[in-house]
């Protein structure tokens, strides 16, 4: 039983009091970040990454902390969805559909506990899936040459563009902006500087952490300034919180099905948790039919998307760890963290750094248990934190961002660049252009270019080489479908919008 051995190795690393403490802290911070409207898991992880460097954490500790934050944010996202009807992050959108009506009907406590349990089931099953599937996928890497990698990157951009946005053109623009930014710096093959304008700071390219913190965290501050600091307060009163055993029991099959769907959706590069919760909700809705009463505040409508999005969060780690292609915006940020820690995800990660991989998997399992224990009895504390006014919160975010980025590079130029990215993020979001493809472009652009150039070297410049293997063809077809299909389906499959009262 190799898996048991590996898991034992993982737990021997993750169960030290120090990493356990980091996991608890990460879960706590993550839940808060997820719960706060606007600060999703991507932002949360992005803001906290520089902190791990300031604290001088080693690779395993940093990973444990950040994945706890990641999972925590996935849990936390449901709190504001249910109580405020404001999704804490994009994947939690589906939870508002039945969660808020439930809360309005006076069952806010039940909805919170039920969604916590559903999150646990989804994340737990996904972690087990990750454990079983990832080592198998690592073998698949032998089938991936430059052409296949290029197609895989293409798929990531296309599906992310197709799913994450309501407008393909805008997603494509965002991807191109990201790819353009990735071209800045010294060209790997010829050694010539590109697009640097003679500025030495740009010779090494744009650091993706600077871009991430700017686009996510700083632009959030700009939005806050624009709204003159009007914060939201909780309209729903939360009375006693008890455990709704009956609801949990009745939704058990829903949770299992939703976990499976979410996990598969998470594995698809670029699709991620939003797709997981969306598909899980939609399939449960069609299984329940008209009588199911989805949308009116039924427990199944809360359990399905929560199990789905947490399972997708686990699934998204599979392609990230084995192929180095992130399955969601947040895993893209985690990938950036890994690369900064000098860990190159890929097929050899499992053999070269088993302590990192299995320590990570073990800490995910631990984080899950911690989160369940934290989220059920302590839900009132998180609700209280939701009432922290934005004018205290956001200056804190700004401070952490500036200190964090400066501690990374010690260069004021990066700070200016970060504010620049903040402005870019503000403009893009005003224009309803998604920012995640920009990040994906910056992160993957260099690799995508390398893959293309390698493919061209191997084939003497023959473009047909890019579609010369069955895997490449399948990936290209999937990429094109992933990009085009949402346009066709949008007519029939209206993406449910948030309930407005």
């Amino acid at each position: 039983m190799e898996i048991i051995d590996n898991l034992a190795l993982g737990f021997s690393i993750a169960l030290s009091p120090y990493t356990l403490m980091l996991a608890v802290i990460g879960c706590f911070l993550g839940t808060i970040i997820g719960a706060l409207p606007g600060l999703g898991p991507s932002n949360g992880v992005a803001i906290l990454i520089p902190l791990t460097f300031t604290l001088g954490l080693d690779a395993t500790s940093a990973l444990v902390l950040m994945t706890s934050v990641y999972y925590g944010a996935m849990y936390g996202g449901r709190i504001s969805s249910i109580l405020l009807n404001i999704p804490g992050d994009e994947p939690a959108l589906m939870t508002t559909l039945d969660g808020y009506p439930m809360a309005k009907a006076g069952r806010g406590g039940d909805a919170l506990v039920l969604s916590g349990v559903a999150s646990f089931v989804g994340a737990f099953l996904a972690t087990i899936g990750l454990m079983l599937l990832a080592p198998m996928l690592a073998r698949v890497a032998y089938l991936f040459g430059p052409a296949e990698y290029f197609a895989l990157y293409m798929l990531a951009f296309c599906t992310l563009g197709g799913m994450a946005s309501n407008n393909q053109a805008k997603a494509a623009i965002a991807s191109c902006i990201g790819l353009g930014i990735a071209m800045i710096g010294v060209d790997n093959s010829s050694g010539l500087p590109r697009l640097t304008g003679g500025n030495l700071h740009l010779m090494d390219g744009v650091d993706f952490l600077v871009a991430i913190v700017g686009l996510f965290a700083i632009s959030e501050v700009f939005f806050f300034i624009e709204s003159h600091g009007k914060g939201s307060s909780i309209g729903i009163k939360l009375e006693k919180v008890t455990i709704p055993w009956k609801d949990i029991y009745e939704t058990k099959w829903t949770m299992l099905r939703a976990s499976g769907i979410g996990f598969i959706a998470g594995i698809l590069p670029g699709a991620g948790a939003s797709l997981g919760s969306f598909l899980a909700y939609m399939s449960e809705k069609s299984i329940a039919g008209e009588k199911g009463g989805f949308g009116t505040g039924v427990p199944k409508g809360v359990a399905a998307p929560e199990a789905g999005n947490n399972a997708a969060a686990g699934g998204a780690l599979v392609p990230m760890l084995t192929l180095g292609v992130p399955g969601s915006g947040t895993t893209a940020v985690l990938l950036a963290l890994l690369m900064t820690l000098n860990i190159t995800p890929g097929p050899t990660l499992f053999t070269d750094r088993p302590e990192v991989v299995w320590g990570l998997i073990a800490s995910l399992l631990i984080a899950n248990v911690v989160l369940l224990l934290m989220n059920v009895p302590m839900v009132k504390i998180f609700v209280r934190i939701l009432q922290v006014p934005a004018w205290i919160l956001l200056p804190g975010v700004t401070m952490v961002s500036f200190v964090g980025i400066y501690s990374l590079s010690g260069s004021y130029f990066d700070l200016v660049l970060m504010v620049g990215f903040g402005a870019l993020g503000y403009v893009l979001r005003k224009l309803d252009i998604p920012t995640v493809p920009v990040i994906l472009g910056i992160l993957l652009g260099g690799h995508m270019e390398d893959a293309l150039r390698r493919a061209m070297v191997l084939s003497d410049g023959d473009v047909a080489y890019l579609v010369s293997s069955p895997i490449a063809i399948v990936l290209w077809v999937a990429a094109i479908l992933g990009f085009v299909a949402p346009m066709m389906l949008r007519k029939f499959l209206e993406k449910p919008q948030r309930v407005t009262d």
Partner: protein, 322 residues
Amino acid sequence: MTHHFFKAFVMGAVLTISAPTSVIAAECIAPANPGGGWDFTCRQIGKIMYEIGAVDKPIQVTNMAGGGGGLAYGHVVNERDTDADLIVAASSATSTRLAQNAYAGMTADQVRFVGAIGADPGVIVVAADSPFKTLGDMVDAIKANPGSVAFAGGSAVGGFDHLKPLMILQRGGFTDITKVKYIGLDGGADAITQTVGGFTQVMTGDMSEIVGFLKAGEIRVLAVLTDERVPGFEKIPTAKEQGFDVVAVNWRGLYVPKGVSDDTFNEWASKLQQVADSDAWKEAMVANGLAPFTKVGGDFQSYVDGLVTEIRQLSKDIGVIQ
């Protein structure tokens, strides 16, 4: 704050006064951050020199990262040119970059290469199911159709991994080396994955990068680029015994400033020889996947000179430099 400043000031003053008197400990500059190969060289050699009594005081290690070693090189050439108590870690990357003018125009003759005492041997590797059984098979296939064989390596185009097969091909009488396909990946492991996967035909890299794959039985090593077969890997033939006189190893060694006396140079060379002969160094080599490769003094200097000349010519031939 003032306190710290004061301390630093006094410290600086003390150092300035004592530096020329040569009673302080020698310094080893590692031109990279802690943790890499150069850092290892400084720390291990410094530690062993002190342990075996080759130096009176522990050697002070300074990390000076930047410009792929160019920052430290410039520092030594411009500011420490006569410092007899200074050694600097170097490797084949140092000579490759010097040959390709990657150190802002500084040249290899601006320092003295004092010796190398260990190396990661270069290897030429194919997948276990490859039709190539010997280096000769590979060279013949390239001579017949240069486009049919693509190489993968862990260094960028023009890097040392790229140059290794080119040297072999030149010895084998194939001169049209611009036709040779090479793709640079993010490390030796990726290069092997591509080769085992059949996307490239041959992997070029270092011994330490392939050990895991060799044990798993996924690859066959066509040749190791050393003078003698490597201890522990006696089954692997050298390129030399297959008729291709190429020695390409990622050596670990030291250079000293140009302006030191011949006596100082020879003194460092003999100290390095003592380290090479010590049991502690042999253990350190085994633990870090290095093979014995001892060249010190004038012998090493001429080896480096030859290497730089050859790499420069090769780099010109493939168009990496003008």
